[in-house]
Amino acid sequence: MSTPTTTRDAVIIGGNRIPFVRAHGAYAKASNQDMLTSALNGLIARFGLQGEQLGTVAGGAVMKHSKNFNLVRESVLGTPLDPKTPAYDVQMACATGMEAIGSLANKIKLGQIDSAVGGGVDSISDAPIVVTDELRGILMEANRAKTAGQRLKALAKIRPGHLVPQAPGVAEPRTGLSMGDHMAVTAHAWGITRQEQDELALASHKNLAAAYDAGFFDDLITPFQGVAKDNNLRPDSSMEKLAKLKPSFGRDLGEEATMTAANSTPLTDGAAAVLLGSEEWADAHDLPKLANFVDYEEGAVDFVDGAEGLLMAPAYAAARMLRRNNLTFEDFEFIEIHEAFASTVLAQIKAWEDEDFCRNKLGLDGAMGPIDRSKLNVNGSSLAAGHPFAATGGRIVGTLAKMLHGKPGKLGFISVCAAGGQGITAIIEGR
């Protein structure tokens, strides 16, 4: 037995997503499977993959019904792909899409597979409602009962309080704090101002709107259920309008609360997928080679007692990833930092630009920054597009790969934070 000592390129061929829409709106009746299938269908149509047996398809959803235990495989079976295409589900909170794509890229690099689709989907509108633990216990007991009498006896234990459905929490299980309230603490600690956050939010909307106007998304998005554009996009937004909003998170900070509904991403439904392949596979199928997926790094922080901000893991992952690749931020043509909140982006940037943080927390000789803001999220990001948790990785990789196409050797940086104090950073290279 020998393990491969050299690897080959994992090529990003292209991406596709359905427009992202605000929760409980246009896709209220669509399931995760509907949306992921549609995103895959658009990808298949764009690249003529009908009947193709791909190496594997991986992705996932953060909010998932138990009936969707095989979500990705079931979705694949609903597409014109060869049913012999394997598929599996991945779950890493908001980094699900990135983890799916990154691990698929590794499989391609190792020669295990020649082609793959990675992505994700999420629906807040179709989120599973869970019964209380007590009711579940009673129902399971009734289910195990051998006689009708036993069953009745079990069911007789149900009390009205048991029937209150438990909506899935967006709160961190270990702290009970919502992600926004966690971020508010971090933002406050880094002294991030309302002004900075609103500016970033405004830029996201303006950049996304401009990209649409330029037809940038013509080959990145396929409409779904009559929606052709991300419906959270507000091209006519302004600093004046944003300044009027009241804070939504960290309200206990009083006057110092800075996070509003506009500089935080809304709950969103949507799906995204990215086609990857080896160079040979892409050539044999006459497919474009937009960029290489170079490397990625997972990170996690101890956020539970506030030692580090919940969404700061990418700051650490980036340090390790850049050191491993002998790169600095100056080496990147484009920087894509997922805008979970405007302050998430700003806190990461400030951390990388902060001498103390980089020395003491990252163990570096000095600051990693500065970060050139003109390279940041130039075609908009989650504040404008929305953020269907598991779909965001696919959106960013597809977008960035297109931006780097035709710029051989130019690099793009990706940062995606995730619940549970986790995050992923990645490097892709244009070709």
Binding site: T175, G176, L177, D181, V185, D252, D305, G306
Partner: protein, 297 residues
């Protein structure tokens, strides 16, 4: 050992009989201890505790030793027994749990037989009345006649009897309001407590004090709403922070009670590796519910 319910019943009756001496002052405190043997915490008790507070399984792999609040729970009936004794100078009903300190010196296993001893001491004035410390000690079961070793676990629960003053001492300086001018630290967690949180802790701890059970039963005792047990908040803070091997100590002071249902903002700070401080407060009103420290070995 008298059951907890019996103790509360006795306490209710005791409320009718005067605890005062003929000259109107409190009786002197007896230092006679209560002592019992205990078979140890059962697997069922541990599982009920874990179901309420979450955390890792008591399966001998993830953890196997008793959390210190569960040891407190084992000793609580003894405390009640002591406080309902005729020679105990304060009325049990209406006692307010002011603070608690625990030294958890050695680990205690499931089903480990224990010897529990409790005594009262330090009856002293408080701004609002009179306070007393109930010291509970937990020992290994030894051969008869063996000399007392150091306790495995030692807890000091301080209770306040409102409006009852020691003779000649109309209110002391101790217990001055420390909550005034409280500025909440940066929160690290938010607890959402349901209306049934008091009943759930009562089921685990056996402390069925009516002020914790429901709004109605609390009103009967003059509380506008049910409040959660102070030791519930201690247990919840300590969950996942206590070392299984023990050797740690902690203390908690209770201020404004947590009404149910309700939210509690919590901050845990770690000034150094061996010390954590924790604070809980009402996120809307900014009133402090509790604060305390955990000292790790």
């Amino acid at each position: 050992m008298a059951s907890i319910l019996t103790s509360y019943r006795k306490a209710a009756l005791g409320a009718l009989t005067s605890k005062l001496t003929s000259n109107g002052s409190l009786r002197a405190l007896s230092s006679d201890p209560e002592e019992i043997s205990h078979p140890g915490a059962s697997a069922e008790q541990l599982e009920a505790y874990r179901t309420l507070f979450g955390g890792e399984a008591f399966d001998g792999v993830h953890r196997s030793r008793l959390p210190s609040v569960l040891v407190h729970i084992l000793g609580f009936p003894l405390q009640l027994q002591l406080m309902t004794r005729d020679d105990f100078p304060l009325q049990l009903m209406g006692l307010v749990h002011l603070s608690n300190q625990v030294e958890h010196r050695s680990p205690i296993a499931q089903d480990q037989p224990l010897r529990l001893r409790a005594h009262a001491e330090n009856l002293r004035p408080h701004r609002k009345g009179t306070q007393v410390d109930i010291v509970t000690e937990v020992f290994e079961v030894q051969a008869p006649g063996a000399a007392d070793e150091a306790p495995l676990w030692r807890g000091v629960s301080t209770y306040l009897s409102r409006g009852v003053f020691l003779a000649g001492k109309p209110g002391g300086s101790e217990g001055s309001r420390s909550g005034a001018g409280f500025t909440p630290p940066s929160k690290t967690a938010m607890w959402t407590l349901g209306a049934d949180e008091g009943r759930r802790y009562a089921a685990v701890s056996g402390d069925y004090n009516p002020i914790h059970l429901s709004g109605l039963s609390a009103k009967a005792l003059g509380m506008p709403k049910a409040i959660v047990h102070g030791m519930y908040t201690a247990a919840r803070v300590l969950e996942g922070r206590e070392p299984d091997a023990a050797g740690h100590s902690w203390s908690i002071s209770f201020e404004a009670p947590v009404t149910l249902p309700g939210k509690v903002a919590v901050a845990v700070e770690k000034p150094d590796e061996k010390m954590q401080t924790f604070t809980g407060w009402n996120p809307k009103k900014g009133r402090r519910h509790f604060s305390g420290e955990l000292h790790l070995p």
